[in-house]
C-alpha cells in the first residue's frame, strides 16, 4: 500500500514524485490524429517551475486562491502543480458552465488568479458578470492567437519567472482546493478540501486500483471533477504513471486512443459506458450466426473462469477480438459520477473488462466504496475503501436508510455556508442524502435519494432550486421545481427527472399557450437541466415566515397525488 504519511501537502508529494520518476513519461496530449505533447516528469517540472515563480513574483502567496477553467490538457496539470508548489488553493471550475455561472463561482471562491483558454476568456469577457469578481487580479490565457485582444490578461506561455521558485510548505489541515459539487443558482456549494483529504483518498484508492510507471490513464472526464482530479492527476503522478489527454472527445478519436496509446485505465460516466456497450452489442449482432454462437461460447467460458476474480491475461486471449480495439492493456474502466445499471457492469465483466464501480461524493473526497472485484458484483457499489466508516442511519425494517460517512477524506465544509455545512455534517459524519443498505457480505447497495436533487447519466448533479430562475415571471400564482423522486420516492437511481409544480391563479387553466411558454423557457436551460413535466397544485404553497417556500412540506402535499395522472409531460 502506498505510504504518504510523511507528506503534509499535495505539493510536497508531487514535488518528490517529479524527482523520483524524472525520466518516465507523465503526459501525452493528442489533438485528433496528431500527438501534440509527450512530457517526462522532468519536462513537466521544467514547465511548471517558471510558472510558479511568475505567480510568486506577481504576489501569489500561501493560501491564495487560483482558478483553472480549461478543457483536459497538459497545461491544466502543469498549472495545478505550480499553484500547489506556491502554496495556493486550487479552484477547478467546469468549463461547460455558462460564463455567468463561471463568474459567479469565481466571485464566490475569492480567486485572485484565473488560468483559462483563450476561447473561454473571450466568452467570459462578453459576460456582464465580470464586474462581480473583484478579487480577481491576474488572468492567464492559453493558446491565444498572435494578434488577439487579451483584455488585460497575460499569455500563459509567456508568463515565466526567472530563477528558482521557493516551495511553500502547507500542513495537512490547510485548504488545498475548493471544488464546486453543484449549485450555481442561489447557493454555490464549494466543498473545502484539505491536503489530508487528497493524500488519504489517494492511498485508499490506489490500494485497490494501483498505478505504476508504464500505466497509462486516459483522461476524459473533466479534470475539475473530483474523480479525474484524483485518478487523472494526483494518483498517477504520485506513482509515476502517465496521463493521456485528448483535445477532442469525438467518439472516433477516443476509440483510436485506446489502441494507439495502450490505455490501462479510463474513467467514464455511465452514459458513455452504455454507449460503448451499445456499440459492442451492435458489432456482435452483425456477426454471422456461426460466429455469434462461437462468441457466446467464449463469453460463457470467460464468465465461468472469472467467477471468483478477474483473470485479465486469460480474458484477453479468449476474447482477443473484443480486447484488441481497447489496446489489449485495459485493466479496468472506472465508472463514476452517477449510478450505473448492473446489467451494463455485468456485460463488460463477462467480456473480461472489469468495471471499477463505486459510490462517492465530492464532499467525501471522491470515492467511499469501490467494487474490489473479489468477486465482482454488479448489484452493489462495493465495500467501503480502507479508512472509510459507513453507517446506515435510521434503517427501515428492510435495512434501508440514509448513508452516512466518516473518514479523513471528508471535506471540512462548504465555503461560506455554515448552515449548509451543519446540515450535511453531523457529529463528524457526512450525511449523504442517498439511501442504501449493506448486504451480508458487507457490500453497499443503493436505493434512491432522500434529498431533492438528481444526478444525470452524464454525472451532473442538478439541484432544482438552481434552475428556477428561468421560470421567473411565469404567468402563474406560484411555482417550484422538484426532483420527481423527492416527491414520489422510488427505490431506483436511474432515469431521474425534474418537474415543475404549478399553482395557477384562481380561474386560470393550464392552457397550450402556458405549456408553450414553459417549454420555451425550459429550452433556455442546458439540455441536462431541463424539466420533464408539470404537476398542478390547487392549494397555496406552504411558506416560512420570511415567505420562502417550504419545499419539504410542499413535497409532502404533492406526494398525495397519483404520479401516473398528476405528472403532465411537457
Amino acid at each position: 500500500m502506498l505510504d504518504l504519511s510523511k507528506y503534509q501537502s499535495i505539493g510536497a508529494a508531487l514535488k518528490d514524485a517529479l524527482e523520483e520518476f524524472s525520466r518516465e513519461v507523465c503526459l501525452i496530449e493528442a489533438d485528433r490524429e496528431r500527438e501534440k505533447e509527450r512530457l517526462t516528469y522532468r519536462d513537466f517540472k521544467e514547465r511548471a517551475q517558471p510558472l510558479a515563480k511568475a505567480l510568486q513574483d506577481a504576489g501569489f502567496a500561501a493560501g491564495d486562491r487560483a482558478s483553472i477553467i480549461m478543457t483536459n490538457q497538459s497545461k491544466w496539470l502543469i498549472t495545478a502543480y505550480a499553484i500547489f508548489f506556491a502554496g495556493g488553493v486550487l479552484v477547478p471550475l467546469d468549463y461547460k458552465l455558462t460564463p455567468d455561472e463561471q463568474w459567479q463561482l469565481l466571485k464566490h471562491s475569492g480567486a485572485k488568479v484565473l488560468i483559462t483558454e483563450y476561447p473561454i476568456w473571450r466568452q467570459l469577457g462578453a459576460s456582464a458578470g465580470r464586474a462581480a469578481a473583484t478579487h480577481l487580479g491576474t488572468v492567464l490565457v492559453t493558446e491565444a492567437p498572435a494578434n488577439a485582444d487579451l483584455s488585460g490578461a497575460h499569455r500563459w506561455e509567456d508568463f515565466r519567472g526567472a530563477g528558482e521558485p521557493a516551495f511553500v510548505p502547507r500542513s495537512r489541515t490547510d485548504l488545498a482546493s475548493i471544488v464546486y459539487s453543484s449549485g450555481t443558482g442561489g447557493r454555490p456549494k464549494g466543498c473545502m478540501m484539505t491536503h489530508e483529504n487528497y493524500l488519504e483518498q489517494c492511498v485508499a484508492l490506489t490500494s485497490i486500483y494501483p498505478f505504476w510507471p508504464g500505466v497509462r490513464y486516459l483522461s476524459i472526464l473533466p479534470t475539475n471533477h473530483a474523480i479525474d482530479f484524483m485518478v487523472g492527476f494526483f494518483g498517477p503522478f504520485i506513482c509515476g504513471a502517465a496521463v493521456v489527454h485528448l483535445r477532442t472527445l469525438r467518439p472516433e478519436y477516443v476509440r483510436e486512443a485506446f489502441s494507439k496509446y495502450k490505455i490501462t485505465y479510463v474513467s467514464l460516466v455511465p452514459l458513455v459506458l452504455k454507449n460503448l456497450q451499445k456499440g459492442l452489442q451492435t458489432r456482435f449482432d452483425a456477426l454471422s450466426p456461426g460466429k455469434h454462437k462461437a462468441l457466446n461460447l467464449l463469453i460463457g467460458l470467460n464468465k465461468a473462469l472469472t467467477k471468483s476474480r478477474p483473470r485479465l491475461g486469460l480474458s484477453r486471449r479468449l476474447l482477443k477480438q473484443v480486447h484488441e480495439p481497447f489496446g489489449g492493456q485495459l485493466r479496468a474502466i472506472i465508472v463514476g459520477g452517477a449510478f450505473t445499471e448492473p446489467q451494463t457492469l455485468q456485460f463488460f465483466y463477462d467480456l473480461g473488462i472489469p468495471v471499477a464501480n463505486g459510490y462517492g461524493l465530492t464532499e467525501a473526497g471522491t470515492a467511499i466504496t469501490v467494487n474490489d472485484l473479489k468477486p465482482f458484483r454488479a448489484d452493489t457499489v462495493g465495500k467501503p475503501l480502507p479508512g472509510m466508516q459507513v453507517r446506515i442511519l435510521n434503517p427501515a425494517p428492510d435495512g434501508i436508510g440514509e448513508v452516512a460517512v466518516r473518514s479523513k477524506t471528508v471535506m471540512s465544509g462548504y465555503l461560506n455556508e455554515p448552515e449548509l455545512t451543519a446540515e450535511a455534517m453531523v457529529d463528524g459524519w457526512l450525511i449523504t442524502g442517498d439511501l442504501g443498505r449493506f448486504d451480508p457480505a458487507g457490500h453497499l447497495q443503493l436505493f434512491g435519494r432522500k434529498k431533492n436533487m438528481i444526478v444525470t447519466e452524464e454525472g451532473k448533479n442538478i439541484y432544482p432550486e438552481d434552475i428556477e430562475a428561468v421560470f421567473e415571471s411565469l404567468p402563474v400564482k406560484e411555482f417550484c421545481v422538484f426532483a420527481a423522486n423527492y416527491i414520489w420516492p422510488q427505490r431506483s437511481m436511474v432515469a431521474e427527472q425534474l418537474l415543475l409544480a404549478l399553482h395557477l391563479e384562481a380561474g386560470q387553466t393550464y392552457t397550450e399557450e402556458l405549456r408553450r411558454d414553459i417549454s420555451a423557457r425550459n429550452n433556455k436551460l442546458l439540455n441536462y437541466k431541463r424539466i420533464h413535466g408539470v404537476v398542478l397544485c390547487d392549494a397555496d404553497f406552504p411558506r416560512t415566515a420570511s415567505m420562502k417556500i417550504k419545499r419539504n412540506a410542499l413535497a409532502e402535499q404533492l406526494a398525495k397525488l397519483d404520479r401516473a395522472t398528476a405528472f403532465l409531460p411537457l
Binding site: R32, T71, Y95, K96, T98, E117, P119, I120, R247, T248, L249, R250, P251, E252, L271, V272, N275, E458, N523, L526, N527
Partner: protein, 80 residues
Amino acid sequence: MRTLEQTTQEILDLASKHFNVPAGTLSPEDDFFKKLGIDSLQTLEMLSRLENHFGVELPDYEVQGVSDFRTLASRIQSRL
C-alpha cells in the same frame, strides 16, 4: 462561398438523413437534442459528419452549450 442560409440548410439535410428524420421536418430554430432525440455523444458524432462535409475542424469548445441548428451553422460558417 456558401451563405449562412445555405450552410444551415445543408446541416438540416445532413441531420435528417443521418438520424432518419423526414426531410423538411427540421427547422433552424429547432433544439437538436430534443428534435432528434439525441444525447451529447450522438451530437459529437453528428459534428464529425458535419466537419467531413464542410471540410472544417470544429474544436469541441466551439459547440459547447449550442443546441439549435442556426447557432451551430453560424459556428461552422465562421470557419468556412
